[in-house]
């Protein structure tokens, strides 16, 4: 007789005491930057291109020796490591934003090392990273909303793929991208209802059902693609993309202007949804109830919260948001549906939820890391041929591994995540 163990804190152990792991990992990366990119880095000047020509506030390019810049970056990271060590000695945790800043410095150092003797188009890289991160962020938000109420959602991949497919097809057939967007959200929400009712009402193992939904959606979209879209591309799979909207004044800012304020509607919707989900989850009665259901369903039930219904709607709305993420893949970026075009982003979103500790803002930051890694591979191939880009692509996955295994001491999942609730 076999049994899949579904335990509280589905993906990681729950512990709260501060550990040395953060400091050790930070220190290792600092030394890597200081020595590999700095002292023993590649010779040559690197140009950090901070603003486009047409910008209102034109900032001159920064030209600096690659090795010198990275020695500075490495030292800064060492300083952050020192703070982390000091806090751990005092028995306090290293704040996440500090780790994030260290990561950001490390990423900039990597760019400078790769582009020795070349130019780093900072706002282009940042902007592309955001566009690529949008499906991961939205998928992550969907997963987060579902796990916060205690339903593990492995089906993010399927939700993204459904959204991408529906957005492309409905957008093409109706000649209206907004219909495509709505169809993507509705279809993905319906899919999530299936997941939710199987998990909540029929108590089917949540992980198995998630995996199977993925397999089913991949099967259906592959079939429809090869049997229908491949031959009828013009009529069914040619939606185009949303126009790029430039926000006046703001888009003229250096660095962040072109990256944040010259984007498609899907990106702006993401900017709105992330704080919105955070606000609802942590600042409203609705969110409090949802979290109660995810942490202690029995207690929530006792005070009169309908556990099943709460779970059902949070999973469904989360699914709609993930569907929007799928739409961002087609009508928000590429402009057509391709076979299995989500390509594992849903699984990355799953990891991002844990990496971001079930907090919308941290989840988005973690998703950006992956977006950054994707664009970095493309860009690094052009600017620094010969560098094994396979290892660069590997970095976010390794970071996730380190985070899940190494930082486990600090990660705490919603306690009832993955547990069906049976009213007793």
């Amino acid at each position: 007789m076999s049994k899949l163990e579904v335990t509280p804190g589905m993906f990681s152990n729950a512990e709260v005491r501060p550990s040395w792991k953060t400091s050790i990992v930070l220190g290792a990366f600092s030394l890597l930057v200081l020595f590999a990119f700095g002292f023993f880095g590649k010779p040559g000047d690197v140009t950090y291109n901070l603003s486009n020509k047409g910008d209102i506030f034109s900032v001159p390019d920064i030209v600096v020796a690659s090795t010198f810049a990275n020695i500075v970056f490495g030292s800064l990271m060492l300083a952050i490591t020192a703070i982390s060590v000091w806090r751990t000695i005092q028995g306090k945790r290293t704040p996440s934003w500090l780790t994030l800043i260290a990561g950001l410095i490390g990423a900039t150092a990597l760019l400078g090392w790769l582009a020795a003797g070349n130019t780093v188009p900072v706002s282009f890289i940042l902007g592309s990273a955001i566009v690529l991160a949008v499906p991961i962020i939205l998928g992550g938000l969907g997963g987060l909303m579902s796990e916060r109420v205690g339903v593990v959602n492995i089906a993010i991949e399927g939700q993204l793929l459904t959204g991408a497919f529906m957005a492309a097809v409905v957008g093409t057939v109706t000649h209206n991208l907004w219909f495509g967007l709505i169809a993507a959200m509705v279809a993905s929400a319906i899919l999530s209802m299936a997941l939710a009712s199987l998990a909540i009402k029929y108590l089917v193992d949540q992980i198995i059902i998630g995996v199977l939904i993925n397999v089913l959606v991949i099967g259906i979209t592959n079939f429809l693609y090869s049997q229908w879209l491949a031959s009828a591309g013009e009529e069914a799979n040619f939606p185009g993309t949303f126009d790029i909207i430039s926000i006046p004044y703001l888009s003229g800012l250096p660095i962040i202007g072109p990256a944040l304020f010259e984007a498609r509607i899907t990106v702006y919707l993401t900017f709105i949804l992330v704080p919105l989900v955070w606000f609802v989850l942590f600042r409203t009665k609705l969110g409090l109830r949802a979290r109660a259901v995810g942490e202690h369903p029995t207690a929530a039930d006792t005070v009169g919260i309908n556990v099943g219904r709460t779970r059902f709607w949070w999973v469904t709305i989360g699914g709609a948001i993930a569907g929007l993420g799928g739409a961002a893949l087609t009508i928000g970026n590429v402009g057509a549906f391709g076979r299995e075009m989500s390509g594992g982003l849903g699984f990355i979103a799953l990891a991002v939820v844990i990496l971001g500790r079930w907090q919308p803002f941290y989840v988005s930051a973690a998703a950006l890391l992956f977006g950054f890694a994707i664009i970095l591979r493309v860009w690094a191939n052009g600017v620094a041929p010969g560098i094994p880009t396979d290892f660069i692509t590997m970095v976010p996955y390794l970071v996730t591994l380190i985070a899940v295994a190494g930082f486990a001491g600090k990660v705490r999942a919603p306690a009832a995540s993955g547990q069906p609730y049976i009213k007793g």
């Binding site: 007789m1 076999s2 049994k3 899949l4 163990e5 579904v6 804190g9 589905m10 993906f11 990681s12 152990n13 492995i154 199987l198 009402k201 029929y202 108590l203 089917v204 193992d205 992980i207 198995i208 059902i209 995996v211 199977l212 939904i213 397999v215 089913l216 991949i218 099967g219 259906i220 592959n222 079939f223 429809l224 693609y225 090869s226 049997q227 229908w228 031959s231 594992g344 699984f347 799953l350 990891a351 844990i354 094994p388 396979d390 290892f391 692509t393 590997m394 996955y397 390794l398 996730t400 591994l401 899940v404 295994a405 190494g406 486990a408 069906p420 049976i422």
Partner: protein, 386 residues
């Protein structure tokens, strides 16, 4: 015993009636997809209201043609004019079923210890890396070369799985996340090896990451001569199933595995080290997948690319679920999905996209894994679970 446990038992035990209904329903829904989107059927939609009969007739014909093609492509080609092409389909089914059975056994082993091994792809790739390294970069006598490559593949994959078990035991990291991440890491690592001349890149190769074909001394021997692709892989798969059966049902370590899967707390109370069991179980699970890796790497006759993993790692999950994690069930499930793979090209020729089988496959397992669903559809009474 909680409600939850009863349900999982129900999934794994699987009454014959429910399995039959699941398979039937899977094929019926697959037929609908097949018919509705077929070109010939679509052409009749314009005149649907004037002559709906035509539409249904064409649709019916499409479905029949599709399944006949599946049969011809996977069992016996009835329209063939010579015995070789007549019987090749069934040998192809066996050839394609072999890695599915091997990897399916691996995932099944995980299930029975309460571990969900989604890392088949990564473990398969690591096994391939080992097998390809031995089979293209070493000179060994015939036979020995193959055995060494096989063992190295199993060790590489097994070590990858053991690492997952170790991380789970030591840090509590969930195996689903760890294995998914390792999948990507393994693919990148393999691509790097394939790209690097001093590692695995083919001799005189261009820019594409591709290896040499495995040395003739390391290739799996063929069973039925050169006109059939069938090799000893299927025999190894059957042997693996027997080993799996003995390991899980008869050996002491299998008893420990099952006990931890059944109730980890009780196992711990009985003096079993649950942590150590996780490490060994993940390693054993991945070792079976390593065998599938050897099968993929050593039955190839041309150079390997990273796509050689052929999604077997994920298909293995559905095989294990359909097979109820039992040795015999996994063999049967592997054969069924192997037949699906073998029949695909024949269906393609007829203009029926074989991708429809992906839908059928997913639906069958979905219905089997969700007993309440099939009960609700057919209004079956709730099964008694002892």
């Amino acid at each position: 015993m909680s409600e939850d446990n009863k349900l999982l038992k129900e999934i794994m035990s699987g009454s014959p009636l429910r399995i039959t209904l699941s398979v039937l329903l899977g094929f019926i829904i697959g037929s609908i997809f097949m018919a509705v989107f077929n070109e010939n059927v679509v052409a009749t939609y314009a005149s649907f209201f004037s002559s709906p009969g035509t539409t249904f007739q064409v649709a019916g014909q499409t479905i029949v043609d599709g399944y006949v093609a599946l049969f011809n492509g996977s069992i016996i080609n009835l329209s063939a004019d010579n015995p070789v092409s007549m019987f090749r389909p069934i040998t192809e089914t066996l050839r394609l079923a072999a890695p599915l059975i091997m990897a399916g056994l691996g995932v099944a082993l995980g299930f029975r210890v309460g571990l969900f091994n989604v890392g088949g792809t990564g473990q398969l790739i690591m096994g391939l890396l080992g097998a390809t390294w031995i089979s293209t970069r070493f000179d060994l006598p015939w036979g020995l070369h193959m055995v060494v490559a096989l063992i190295v593949a199993i060790i590489f994959a097994g070590a990858t799985g053991g690492l997952v078990g170790f991380l789970k035991a030591k840090t509590g990291a969930h195996e689903v996340i760890v294995t998914i991440m390792l999948n990507y890491v393994a693919i990148d690592l393999f691509t790097f090896f394939l790209r690097t001349p001093s590692l695995l890149l083919e001799h005189g190769g261009g820019g594409n990451p591709k290896s040499d074909p495995p040395a003739l001394t390391a290739q799996f021997p063929r069973l039925l001569g050169d006109s059939f692709g069938l090799n000893i892989g299927i025999i190894l798969a059957i042997v693996a199933a027997v080993v799996y059966w003995w390991l899980m049902e008869r050996s002491t370590i299998g008893y420990r595995f099952r006990m931890v899967g059944h109730n980890a707390n009780a196992a711990r109370a009985a003096g079993i080290s649950v942590e150590r069991t996780y490490v060994w179980a993940m390693a054993a699970s991945a070792a079976f997948i390593g065998l599938a890796a050897a099968n993929q790497g050593l039955s190839a006759t041309s150079g390997l690319t990273s796509s050689i993993h052929a999604n077997i790692g994920f298909d293995a999950i559905t095989v294990a679920l359909l097979g109820g994690s039992r040795a015999r069930g996994v063999v049967v499930a592997g054969l069924v999905f192997g037949a699906f793979k073998a029949g695909s090209p024949t269906m393609q020729i007829l203009g029926v996209s074989p991708e429809v089988l992906g839908i059928v496959q997913a639906l069958i397992v979905l219905f089997i894994a969700a007993p309440p669903l099939i009960r609700a559809i057919f209004r079956l009474p709730k099964a008694e679970v002892k």
